[in-house]
C-alpha cells in the first residue's frame, strides 16, 4: 500500500550569482522522488527567491519511501543554453515514516554541490501520509526505530532484547562504470551519492524486516559501513541489536537506568524453559529440561517446538547450529554441556542458570550484541575480548542481487567470534563491531567484541516487567563486581591466567587483568581516574599482488596483534591500572605497510588485584651494563609512581594476611580472553601453583627492546586539567557541566624517506598520534578542567607514503571540586543492592586490599626471568591456537586471531522524526549540539527523531585556490557539520547524539590541482531539554505526542 509524500519549496537565500552580467540568478527548483519530477516556476533575478510553491504530491510505495531520498535540485534558468545546476539537497524521509515521530520536515537546508560545496540555502517543507499496511508479505518495514546509540536510548525501556541483526547489499560503484569516462565528475559524484543513499535506505528497510520478524520494534547500536571495493564494487553493510523498546512516560524518563531491578538475580529468572507463553516466569523445577527446546523468541509464533528461525528466510546462509564447527579443542565446555562439566561450580542451580541462558542464546545464530552499555543486571559476567580477522581477495561482484560471497565471509568471521566466546565459557558477545580495511584487491575483515554471560531475563518476553526476584536462588555475585568474575571454568581455563578472589566480594575468582570492548558498567567501582591508552604499530611489508600479498598480510596479522597487545599491557601497567574498556584495535593495510592502532581506556577496577610493577631484565647478566638497566628500571618505577598520583590510584590497602590464602598472584597479564565466572568459593589450590609474583618482566635482549621501552615511556600524560578516554565518559568523573565541544581532526603525514625501518616508522606513527593529542589539549585549553571523551582514532594508508589519522571526539567540561569526592563514595554506594552485611564486608575488603598492594613491589625484584618465560609461553600457545584455526578459503587465506578488541559501534541509519518544536537557540539558526556520546551532560533527551546517516562527496579541480589540501578538507568537514545540523534542525531537533564519522576517504593529486574526499557520518537526532528545566518536558513531549498521534491515525 502506498503512502503520499508531499513537498513544498518555500524560498531560497544566499544563492550564488549565476549570471555575471546582472550579478543575479534566475533560480527554479526540481523536486524528484523515484521517477517523478516536479518543477517550480522560475523566480527571476534574485539571490533570495521566494517560490512558495504548491504542494508537490508523490504517490508511492512505502518500500520506496524507505529506500529513496527526496531529491531537491536548484537550477539557474538560462533561456539560450542548458540550465546550470546550482546544487542539490537530499532529504531522507525515513524519519517521517515512524508513528512516534514527526509529521513534517521543515527548515533551511544547505544547497550542496559536489564541486563547489555549499551554495546558499533552501527552505523546504516535507510531509508524508502513510496508509496502514497489513499485508504480511510486505517488503517495507516502516515504523521500526533505528538508533546509533549503543545503549538503550534514554527515553525508552528495553522490554526485550532480541539480538543480532545484520544485512548487506552490494552494487557496482558508479565511479568505476564505463560511463564514468564520459560523464562529468559532478555527474559521477552525484550518481555515487544517490546510489549510496538508495542502498542504505534499502539496507535499513531489510534490517527493519528482520526486526519485525523477530518481534522487535527497534534496532539499537545500528552500525552501517561502506566498503569501497573499487573495481569490484560497493558494499553497504549494517549490524545492530534488535530490541523491543517501550517509551517511558515523560516523568520517568530521566531515570531510565534505575527503574529495573538491581542486578541481583540473574539466576532467579533464569529462564529456561520452554514456557510457551513467554509471560509466565516459571523457573526452578523444570530448569533441567532446558536443554531441549529453545527459549521462545517473541517474534516467533510462540510455539517453542518449532525450530527458531530467528532470521528471515531471505537471509543467505542462515545457520541454526549453535555449537559451531569451528570450535576447536579449546572450547572448555559448551553451553549444552552436561552438568558434569560444570560440576565444580557453585552449585547446580547456577549451572542450570548458565545452561538456560546459553540455551536461550544459542538458539540464535549469533548471540551478538552491538551494545556497549547495558541496563543494570543485563551483563552478568565478562570473559574478555574476542576478535577475528580474515584477509580476502576481492573480485568483482557479478550479481548485485546475490551478495553471497560477502555474506559468507562475514558468516565465517562471526562463527569464529562465536567459538572464541565459547572458549571463554561465554554464550554471548557484547560490544560487537565489524570493520574492514581495503587496499587494492586485498581486504581485511575484522570483527571483535567482548565475550560475556548475559542475564536471560532480557531475552524473554515479559520477564522484565515482573520484578521477579525469585529468592530461591540467591545470586551470590555482588552487583558491583559481578561482571569481573570469570565465566570460564578455572580447572579448564582457555588460557593460562592468574586468578584471585575478587577484591570486592572475596567470593568469586577474578582475573588479574580484564580487557573489554564495552563501556565501563555503571555499577563498577573504580579507584582513581582512567586514561586513554594507545598501542601503535607500523610494519613494513613488501609490495605484492594477489594471493601472495594476501598471504603475506595474513601472516603478519598475528604478530601485529601480539605486539599491540604487549604494548597495551605494558602501558596499562605503567599506569598502574588493571582493566581496559572500550578496546578497539584497528589494523589498516596499505601497499607497503600495515598500521595497527589499539585504543582503550585504562582503569583500576577495585575488584581486581593491583597490577604489579614492570621489571627490566637483561637477557644474560653480562648483556648490558647493570647501570643501564637500573636507570631504565628507575625511570619506569618513577613513571609508575607519578602515574599513580596523576590518576589518583590509591587503592585501599589490603592486608594479605587477612585475606588469607585465596589471594592469588597476578603475574602476567597477557591474557587474551578474560572472563567472569561463577566459579566456586572453594577451589583455590590451582592458582597457588603459579607461585607468587607480582612483577611483569620486560627483557632487554637487543636494541629493539630498548627502543620499545623508550617508546613506552614516551607517551606524555595529558597536561593538568585534562583527562582523556575513548569510552563514553571518564571513569571517576561524574560532575559534568554543560560545556561540550565536538570536533573532528584529520592529519595526513607524508613519509619522504624510502628506506624507513620498522622502528623509524613506529616512531613517526607514535609521534603523529601523540602530537595530535597535544594539539587537542592546546586548542581546548580554554575548557579546562575538561575531559576528551570518546576519542575515536581511525588510521588509513591512502597512498604509498601517506599515513592518515582521523579523530572525532568530544571535550566536556566538569566541575573539578566535586570530582575529588565522588570516587571515594563510589565503592560504597555501589553495593547498595546488597544487604548491609555485604556492604560492610566489601568495604573492609577494599581497605584491606591496598595494604597488600603495597607489598608486592618489594618482592618483585627476584624472579624476572622465569615469569618472563611463562609469558612468552602463554603467547606462543595463543599463537598456535590461532594458527590452528587459520585455514585458507577460496582465493584468499584466512587467519583469525582472537584478541582483545573493541570498536565503538557507531551505527547509522535513519529514522523517525517528530514534529519539531523549534524553540531552542536564540538566533535565527537553531543551535545544534553534536556529540559522539549517547547523551549531553546537563540535559535530558525527550525525543529521538531518527537516524542521521549522510554520505557526501566533494571534489575540486582548483585545489590551490581553495587553500590546498587542508583548506579543501577543512571547508568540507565544516560543510558536513553544517548539513548534519541543518537536517537535525529541520526535523525539529536540537542535538545529535552518538555522532560518528565512519568514513573519511581523502585522495589528492596536487600535480593536477585536484582532490576528492568522501565522508560518511551518522548519529541520532534528538530533542533535549535542560535537566533543570522541569517544565519543558511535559509540554514538549505533549506536543510531540500529539503529533505522533496524528501520525498514528494516519498510518
Amino acid at each position: 500500500m502506498p503512502g503520499k509524500l508531499k513537498a513544498k519549496i518555500v524560498a531560497g537565500r544566499h544563492l550564488p550569482v549565476m549570471d555575471r552580467a546582472s550579478d543575479l540568478t534566475d533560480a527554479f527548483v526540481e523536486v524528484k522522488f523515484g521517477n517523478t519530477t516536479f518543477k517550480t516556476d522560475v523566480f527571476p533575478k534574485s539571490l533570495n527567491p521566494q517560490w512558495n510553491s504548491e504542494w508537490f504530491k508523490f504517490e508511492v510505495d512505502d518500500e520506496d519511501l524507505q529506500d529513496e531520498p527526496l531529491q531537491v535540485t536548484v537550477l539557474d534558468h538560462d533561456t539560450y543554453s542548458a540550465n546550470d545546476a546550482i546544487g542539490k539537497v537530499y532529504i531522507d524521509i525515513d524519519p517521517l515514516l515512524c508513528t512516534e515521530a514527526a509529521s513534517v520536515i521543515s527548515g533551511w537546508f544547505p544547497i550542496y554541490d559536489t564541486i563547489h560545496g555549499i551554495r546558499g540555502e533552501i527552505n523546504v517543507l516535507v510531509k508524508v501520509e502513510l496508509f496502514n499496511d497489513l499485508n504480511r508479505f510486505r517488503q517495507s518495514s516502516c515504523g521500526v526505530k533505528f538508533f546509533c546509540t549503543t545503549s538503550i536510548p534514554r527515553c525508552y525501556r528495553a522490554a526485550m532484547v532480541h539480538g543480532f541483526v545484520e544485512e548487506l547489499v552490494v552494487n557496482e560503484d558508479p565511479e568505476y562504470q564505463w560511463i564514468d569516462r564520459i560523464r562529468t565528475p559532478r555527474a559521477s559524484n552525484e550518481a555515487r551519492q544517490r546510489l549510496i543513499s538508495l542502498m542504505s535506505g534499502e539496507l535499513q528497510r531489510k534490517i527493519g524486516l528482520k526486526v519485525l520478524e523477530m518481534g522487535g520494534n527497534a534496532v539499537v547500536g545500528y552500525l552501517q559501513c561502506f566498503d569501497l571495493e573499487g573495481e569490484s564494487g560497493l558494499v553497504v553493510r549494517a549490524i545492530g541489536t534488535a530490541c523491543t523498546l517501550d517509551k517511558l512516560s515523560s516523568g520517568s524518563a530521566p531515570n531510565t537506568n534505575t527503574h529495573t531491578h538491581p542486578n541481583t538475580a540473574p539466576a532467579s529468572n533464569a529462564c529456561n524453559s520452554p514456557s510457551k507463553d513467554g509471560k509466565e516466569p516459571v523457573f526452578g523445577e523444570d530448569l533441567l529440561s532446558s536443554s531441549g527446546p529453545p527459549t521462545p523468541f517473541r517474534a516467533l509464533p510462540t510455539s517453542s517446538s518449532s525450530p527458531p528461525p530467528p532470521f528471515s528466510p531471505s537471509k543467505p546462509c542462515s545457520r541454526q547450529s549453535s555449537s559451531s564447527d569451528t570450535d576447536l579443542s579449546l572450547t572448555p565446555k559448551t553451553g549444552m554441556g552436561s552438568g558434569g562439566s560444570v560440576g565444580k561450580e557453585a552449585g547446580p542451580l547456577k549451572t542450570l542458570l548458565r545452561q538456560q541462558t546459553q540455551t536461550a542464546l544459542e538458539q540464535r545464530e549469533f548471540p551478538f550484541f552491538t551494545l556497549t552499555s547495558f541496563p543494570p543486571g543485563f551483563l552478568v559476567h565478562v570473559g574478555g575480548v574476542v576478535s577475528a580477522r580474515s584477509v580476502k581477495l576481492l573480485d568483482r561482484i557479478h550479481n548485485p542481487d546475490e551478495p553471497e560471497t560477502r555474506d559468507a565471509w562475514w558468516e565465517e568471521i562471526r562463527q569464529e567470534i562465536k567459538s572464541h566466546a565459547k572458549a571463554l565459557g561465554c554464550h554471548a558477545v557484547v560490544g560487537y563491531s565489524e570493520s574492514t580495511s581495503i587496499c587494492e584487491e586485498v581486504c581485511i575483515l575484522s570483527a571483535s567484541g567482548t565475550a560475556s554471560i548475559l542475564n536471560p531475563r532480557f531475552m524473554r518476553e515479559g520477564c522484565l516487567d515482573i520484578g521477579i526476584a525469585d529468592h530461591r536462588f540467591e545470586e551470590p555475585s555482588p552487583p558491583s563486581c559481578g561482571f569481573c568474575h570469570i565465566p570460564y571454568d578455572e580447572l579448564n581455563m582457555p588460557f593460562p591466567a592468574q586468578l584471585t578472589y575478587c577484591y570486592h566480594c572475596r567470593r568469586q575468582k577474578v582475573p588479574d587483568v580484564l580487557f573489554t570492548t564495552i563501556d565501563l558498567p555503571s555499577e563498577a567501582s573504580v579507584t582513581g581516574k582512567g586514561c586513554l591508552i594507545q598501542a601503535r604499530l607500523c610494519r613494513l611489508k613488501k609490495k605484492a599482488q594477489g594471493e601472495v600479498n594476501a598471504t603475506a598480510i595474513s601472516n603478519m596479522l598475528p604478530f601485529m596483534e601480539y605486539e599491540l597487545h604487549t604494548q597495551l599491557m605494558n602501558k596499562l601497567k605503567l599506569r598502574s591500572m588493571n582493566a581496559l574498556f572500550g578496546l578497539h584495535i584497528q589494523i589498516s593495510v596499505g601497499e607497503n605497510m600495515l598500521l595497527g592502532l589499539a585504543s582503550a581506556t585504562g582503569v583500576y577496577l577495585t575488584a581486581l588485584p593491583a597490577p604489579g610493577g614492570i621489571q627490566i631484565a637483561g637477557k644474560t647478566p653480562g648483556d648490558l651494563s647493570n647501570d643501564h638497566i637500573s636507570t631504565i628500571q628507575k625511570r619506569i618505577n618513577d613513571t609508575i609512581a607519578k602515574n599513580k598520583e596523576l590518576y589518583q590510584i590509591n587503592p585501599p590497602e589490603l592486608n594479605e594476611e587477612l585475606v588469607g590464602s585465596p589471594i592469588p598472584e597476578p603475574r602476567h597479564r597477557s591474557r587474551l580472553f578474560r572472563s567472569h565466572s561463577e566459579s566456586s568459593d572453594e577451589v583455590s589450590e590451582l592458582d597457588l601453583s603459579h607461585g607468587k609474583k607480582d612483577a611483569f618482566v620486560l627483557e632487554i635482549d637487543d636494541t629493539d627492546a630498548v627502543e620499545d621501552i623508550h617508546s613506552l615511556l614516551i607517551d606524555a600524560p595529558p597536561p593538568s586539567g585534562f583527562y582523556s578516554c575513548n569510552t563514553e565518559v571518564m571513569p571517576g568523573i561524574n560532575t559534568w557541566t554543560s560545556g561540550v565541544q565536538m570536533f573532528t581532526s584529520v592529519r595526513v603525514f607524508r613519509l619522504s624517506n624510502a628506506n624507513l625501518t620498522n622502528q623509524g616508522l613506529n616512531k613517526i606513527f607514535t609521534d603523529l598520534c601523540e602530537n595530535l593529542l597535544k594539539s587537542f589539549y592546546f586548542k581546548l585549553r580554554s575548557m579546562i578542567p575538561c575531559c576528551l571523551c570518546h576519542l575515536n582514532f581511525t588510521v588509513a594508508v591512502p597512498e604509498d607514503e601517506l599515513i592518515q589519522v582521523a579523530v572525532t571526539a568530544v571535550a566536556m567540561t566538569f566541575d573539578k571540586d566535586q570530582t575529588q569526592e565522588k570516587p571515594a563514595e563510589k565503592p560504597i554506594t555501589k553495593g547498595s543492592g546488597d544487604t548491609e552485611e555485604q556492604l560492610q564486608f566489601s568495604m573492609e575488603l577494599c581497605a584491606d586490599s591496598s595494604l597488600a598492594n603495597s607489598q608486592p613491589p618489594s618482592k618483585i625484584s627476584g624472579v624476572p626471568e622465569s615469569s618472563n618465560i611463562s609469558s612468552r609461553d602463554r603467547c606462543s600457545t595463543w599463537l598456535e591456537l590461532l594458527r590452528l584455526k587459520a585455514h585458507t578459503i577460496r582465493r584468499g587465506s584466512v587467519k583469525t586471531i582472537s584478541s582483545l578488541e573493541r570498536s565503538s559501534p557507531l551505527p547509522d541509519g535513519r529514522s523517525r522524526s517528530l514534529r519539531s518544536t523549534r524553540s531552542f537557540g536564540g538566533t535565527s539558526v537553531t543551535v545544534v549540539k553534536m556529540t559522539p556520546l549517547s547523551f549531553l551532560p546537563g540535559t535530558r533527551i525527550i525525543k529521538y527523531l531518527g537516524i542521521i546517516n549522510m554520505f557526501f562527496i566533494r571534489e575540486t579541480t582548483s585545489l590551490r585556490e581553495e587553500g590546498g589540501v587542508s583548506g579543501f578538507l577543512h571547508s568540507f568537514i565544516a560543510e558536513v557539520f553544517a548539513m548534519v545540523r541543518a537536517h537535525v534542525a529541520a526535523l525539529g531537533g536540537n542535538a545529535v547524539v552518538s555522532y560518528s564519522m565512519k568514513e573519511c576517504v581523502f585522495m589528492e593529486n596536487p600535480n593536477k590541482n585536484q582532490a576528492q574526499c568522501l565522508i560518511n557520518v551518522s548519529g541520532d537526532a534528538v530533542i533535549c531539554v535542560r535537566e533543570s528545566d522541569p517544565e519543558a518536558t511535559p509540554s514538549m513531549t505533549n506536543s510531540a505526542q500529539s503529533c505522533s498521534s496524528e501520525t498514528d491515525t494516519a498510518t
Partner: protein, 357 residues
C-alpha cells in the same frame, strides 16, 4: 617527512581572540607563531612549536573562510556553515571592522578609490600598520561607504543595521563616510595634531546639525550631504562683519560680558574683529565645495591658531565662544538668529574639541 594535511574542525567554531587579532593585524602565520611563543601560551598547555604552528594555521584558515561572511555581517547570523555563538559573532564583527587610528587618520577625507588604494604601501610604511591590515581597513571603509551611500534614513543607524556594529564603531564609520563623501582636507601639516576622534566628533556634529537629515528624515543621502539651503542662508551672516555698527555693537556686548572674567581679556578684545571675521567668512564661503573641503583647515588657521598664539586656555575659549554666540541674539538688527545658532552650535563644539595641543 612532513605533515601534509592538518585540519581541526569543531562543531562550535573555535576561535582564539589573540590569534584573531594577529590575523587582523596582518601577521603571517610564522610571525604570528613567533608572537604567540613570546607571549607564553606554550607554557600554558605544554605545547610545542609544532602544536602552535598547527593551531595558528587552523585558525587562520577558519578566519579566511569567515572573511567572506564578515563582508556582509548580517549573513553571519543566518549562515549555516559555522556554528558561532551570537556573542562571539558580535566580537568577530566588531574586531573585523575596528581600525587603527593611525591608519584612518591617513585616509580620512580621501576619496575611497583605487588610486588611494595604490597609496596604501606608503601609508603602511608610514604608520607601520601591515599592508594586509591596511587593505582590510580600507576595504571596510569602502564597503561601508558603498552600502550606505544610497540608503535612506539616518547614517549611523544604517551602518549599525547593515554591519551590526556597536554604537561607537557605527559613529566612527559614519564619520569616515561623511568625511570621504565631502572630501574634507585633514592631511595638511597644520591639522596633524588632530586625532581621528577629534574629527569623528566634529563629523558627528556636522551630521546632526548641518545635513539635510537634520531637518528631513527620509531623504537619500540625508546624513551625507550638507544642507544646501542652510549653506545659502549662511551667507546672510556676513552682515555681522560687513555692517560696522553691528560689529562694534557685537564686540562691546562680548567685551562687557567677558571683562574681568579672564586673563586673556586684552587679547580677546584686541582680536575680536579678526576672529569674528574669520568665523563669519568661513560660514559665508561654505557654498563652495572647495571651501567645504577646507573647513577644518580654515577653522584652525582663522581661529584656533590666533587664539593659541595668544595663549588662551580652553576655559577662555569656552567663555569667549559662549558669549560671542549669545551676544548676537541681543543685537537688534541681526535677524538670522536661527541660522546663527545652527552654525555656531556646531562651530562651538568643534572648536572646543579641536582646541588642544
Amino acid at each position: 617527512m612532513a605533515v601534509e594535511l592538518d585540519v581541526f574542525v569543531g562543531n562550535t567554531t573555535i576561535m582564539d581572540e589573540e590569534v584573531y587579532k594577529l590575523w587582523l593585524d596582518g601577521y603571517t602565520v610564522n610571525d604570528a607563531v613567533k608572537v604567540r611563543m613570546e607571549g607564553g601560551v606554550m607554557e600554558e598547555c605544554e605545547a610545542s612549536a609544532d602544536v602552535l604552528l598547527s593551531d595558528t594555521m587552523d585558525q587562520y584558515r577558519t578566519f579566511q573562510m569567515c572573511e567572506r561572511l564578515l563582508h556582509s555581517p548580517a549573513k553571519l547570523a543566518n549562515q549555516l556553515l559555522f556554528q558561532i555563538t551570537p556573542h562571539r559573532q558580535a566580537v568577530l564583527i566588531e574586531r573585523y571592522y575596528a581600525f587603527d587610528d593611525a591608519f584612518v587618520r591617513e585616509v580620512l577625507g580621501k576619496k575611497l578609490s583605487k588610486g588611494t588604494k595604490k597609496d596604501l604601501d606608503d601609508i603602511s610604511a608610514k604608520t607601520s600598520v601591515t599592508l594586509k591590515s591596511c587593505r582590510r581597513q580600507f576595504d571596510n571603509f569602502k564597503r561601508v561607504f558603498k552600502v550606505v551611500e544610497e540608503l535612506k534614513g539616518p547614517l549611523v543607524e544604517n551602518i549599525r543595521q547593515h554591519f551590526l556594529l556597536s554604537d561607537k564603531l557605527g559613529r566612527d564609520y559614519a564619520a569616515i563616510v561623511f568625511f570621504a563623501n565631502n572630501r574634507f582636507e585633514t592631511g595638511k601639516r597644520k591639522l596633524q595634531y588632530l586625532t581621528f576622534q577629534d574629527f569623528a566628533f566634529c563629523a558627528g556634529q556636522l551630521i546632526n546639525n548641518w545635513t539635510v537629515g537634520a531637518v528631513d528624515h527620509m531623504v537619500e543621502d540625508m546624513d551625507v550631504d550638507l544642507d544646501k539651503e542652510f549653506l545659502q542662508e549662511l551667507k546672510e551672516l556676513k552682515i555681522l562683519i560687513t555692517d560696522k555698527d553691528l560689529l562694534d555693537q557685537h564686540k562691546s556686548l562680548v567685551c562687557t560680558a567677558l571683562r574681568g572674567k579672564t586673563k586673556a581679556f586684552n587679547e580677546m578684545e584686541a582680536n575680536f574683529k579678526n576672529l569674528s571675521r574669520g568665523l563669519v567668512n568661513i560660514a559665508a564661503k561654505l557654498t563652495n565645495t572647495k571651501d567645504v573641503r577646507d573647513f577644518f583647515i580654515d577653522l584652525v588657521e582663522k581661529f584656533i591658531e590666533p587664539c593659541r598664539s595668544d595663549r588662551w586656555t580652553a576655559a577662555d575659549m569656552r567663555l569667549y565662544l559662549t558669549h560671542y554666540t549669545n551676544s548676537a541674539h541681543i543685537l537688534d538688527t541681526f535677524k538670522h538668529q536661527v541660522v546663527w545658532d545652527r552654525y555656531m552650535g556646531v562651530i562651538k563644539s568643534c572648536i572646543f574639541k579641536m582646541y588642544h595641543d
